[in-house]
Symmetry: C2
Subunit: 449 residues, 2 copies
């Protein structure tokens, strides 16, 4: 019997589809933010997409894949930008979206099934006064398992750092891809064995994370005379321990006109900041912005912001949906030759380097900064909009930035190479041999597989 | 009629006492931590101590003091260490302790009468899931008005910075000391007009502060081979955004034996750390401590820690009562020749400077560090125990520390001098003319009055 038929037989009544439309939908992600990945990955498809309804069905899928030696690619919300969820060698696409339950919540900690979206988790937690510490701009689509496997930072990072930081994930449960799958529990630093491994180190079943007590997050847009002053405001605000906040995003004056509905709230030619701040403290923003020539141009109460986020009502949408890589999404929808980069600015001399970078590339590269706390310092990452002309020119821009001291994490490659693995200090290759002994999890994703 | 009799007549039935025992109790504070202040202030007494029961009675006291031109010294919990609450020129002592109500609480913000103790406020807030962002080690005695007028930092500062930081106090109400007292409301940066003014810029009636959502704070004591490694642990923990925490205190190995009941939990010759950490994250401490050769030697759950703090039951007492200037208190009770200093270490090269200071003074100065966040960086302040021999030697120690780059705020002076006023960027002298036009508020406290 062909392996695919055997696989079908073994998984019994686990929901499965293999029509072209479903396979396209379940095989791709937001890889098309990159013109390079777009060329490379557009035709990748799984041969069958399964959506198990519970843990036993996940284990049945894992067992069947191991027995038939079919490639297996795990998928959360499909919001990755580097093809994290794209099957490079066909086979089985495992959609975890039906495992979306809240397993348990107690003060300061929650356990969630890997397929739960971060928005649904926050909706469930809100009445109890808790929330996830951070979420990507794709809060509505992204699953917590996907965020652990392929994400990094987002709204909340200006206070809580990143998902790979010590303490940010307390435990995970992982199913191995073996003939008789096991469920392994990893705690503390062992979590790093699967973190940012793009889902090729076992199947994440559940995630236990510390929760943040929930502030009433009000939304604000502010306008500034120029990027330099907006950036200095972003820095000052993120440094201000006394002001509770969840999001500090800063935009070059040429970006807001590309942001659809948001453009109405930023006067032409002005740099902008998007901020989520604890409502009783919103007044402090006014004074702080004034120091940098800025003013508030849009204000939405925490109650209204929750309604917009939780019920999908109101316009504009949640302001975080204009930040992080949603900025790129909005611009790209309007100007198809736009792409982006990921740039980390070092904390020392950071804003001077931002100024220099901003002055170097003219209209080719427009800075969009996300302020964060990392390891006790305030830093900003940039997700600049880049006018794409050729692969060679993009490489040149990356090399120029690197030479200036702004470290680029190249988002235009789908291979989780050695550089990627070295991001976390953990025995990921060793754990891959445990969790995926047959090397079935998205072969081709890891360099050399 | 003598002014004091006239004052008595004018205040009507506001509770008042003038017996020697009460006047001693209500005129002094913890000034005796300093052998120098002890000599200078021991005999200072008010002539009458009043304890108004409501705002109208406070205003009656202010009016009567203004009309009779009697000096007026405002008092909260009397926990200051520089004689903040000690009347230097006699007159009226105004005990605010009976104005101790919670005025209002809504998500993220609370307004409290100035005389409410920080412990009672936290007890009232706990069922609603909120708490004060910080409190001094004297949480049980200190009032929120006193903390704003004469405090700076405490438990919570490792996350939230200090009380003078932007956003840390949203508003205050202040009564003027005039024949017809007015109640002024100061908001935002205007709050700095009374902040750290030692109560001589009007009578604080209420304080509005942002609240912190309440984590389940577990308590831990950890032991380390030496101070250098304990300090590096303190730094690493405070830098770890991913670990929610409220207190990170570090002690030279020679200090724990001086800390009474706490000494049982630190093996002899080991440096120590006291930590309050969000309970679900306590496991991360173990890994982090191990990196610095440390281990947990005492653990108390958040539930138990709350019981100890809120109900006064259990031993040892709340661990925060062994930190900040409570460390000095415990040591001083056992060794009367001990005093202390307040030292700020700059963030760059901080731990190397800590090492150098620790190596410089032998047994004369034992470092006790409190890790904090300030303006986006992790810093530590030291409240070192100092073996006092003479004023001249103490001056020498201060000069040596200053020369090494460790800035000393001299706690052995009761005068709020120009240096003190310059701490905050606000028109305090101008506001004093508004709030206290007759210069009646503790004359002698401000240099030149």
């Amino acid at each position: 019997m062909p392996p695919l038929d055997e696989f079908r037989k073994q998984i019994g009544d686990v929901p499965a589809h293999d029509d072209a439309a479903t396979l396209k939908l379940k095989s791709l992600d937001f890889y098309w933010f990159s013109p390079i990945l777009k060329r490379q990955l557009a035709d990748c498809r799984g041969d069958i997409a399964v959506r198990p309804r519970n843990r036993d069905e996940v284990l049945a899928v894992a067992a069947a894949a191991a027995r038939t030696r079919l490639p297996l690619t795990v998928r959360g919300g499909g919001t990755g930008n580097y093809g994290q969820a794209i099957p490079l060698s066909g086979g089985v696409v495992l959609d975890m979206g039906a495992l979306d339950g809240v397993v348990s919540v107690s003060p300061g900690v929650g356990t969630f099934e890997a397929g739960a979206t971060m928005l649904e988790i926050d909706k469930a937690l809100a009445p109890q006064g808790w929330e996830l510490r951070f979420h990507p701009s794709t809060r509505k689509q992204a699953t917590i398992g996907g965020f652990v496997a392929g994400g990094a930072a987002g709204a909340g990072s200006c206070t809580w750092g990143q998902i790979a930081d010590p303490g940010a994930v307390l435990a995970v449960e992982v199913a191995t891809v073996e003939e008789n799958p096991r469920v392994l529990r990893l705690e503390g630093p062992d979590v790093l064995k699967v973190l940012h491994a793009y889902g090729i180190n076992g199947i994440l079943l559940s995630v236990t994370v510390p929760l943040a007590p929930r502030h009433p997050w009000a939304e604000r847009i502010l306008a500034f005379p120029d990027l330099a002053r907006a950036a200095r405001f972003g820095q000052a605000l993120t440094e201000a321990e006394g002001i509770a906040k969840k999001l500090v995003s800063v935009f070059d004056p040429r970006i807001p006109p590309k942001l659809g509905r948001l453009s109405a709230y930023v006067p032409e030619g002005r740099a902008a900041a998007i901020v989520m701040v604890s409502e009783p403290q919103a007044g402090a923003l006014i004074d702080m912005a004034a120091r940098f020539g800025g003013e508030v141009t849009f204000a939405r109460s925490a109650e209204e912001a929750d309604r917009v986020a939780f019920e999908g009502l109101g316009s504009p949408g949640p302001l975080y949906e204009y930040t992080w890589n949603h900025t790129t999404l909005h611009a790209l929808k309007r100007e198809p030759d736009i792409t982006y980069l990921q740039v980390r600015f070092p904390p020392d001399g950071m804003l001077e380097l931002v100024d220099t970078v901003a002055a170097t590339f003219g209209d080719e590269l427009l800075l969009h900064l996300e302020f964060q706390r990392r390891f006790g310092r305030v830093v900003c990452s940039a997700l600049p909009l880049v006018r794409y002309t050729s692969d060679a020119r993009l490489d040149e821009v990356i090399a120029t930035l690197d030479a200036m001291g702004a470290a680029v994490s190249n988002p235009h490659t789908f291979v989780l190479d050695n550089a990627g693995w070295k991001r976390v200090d953990a025995p990921q290759p060793e754990f891959k041999r445990v969790a995926d002994p047959h090397g079935l999890m998205n072969p081709g994703k890891l360099a050399g597989t």
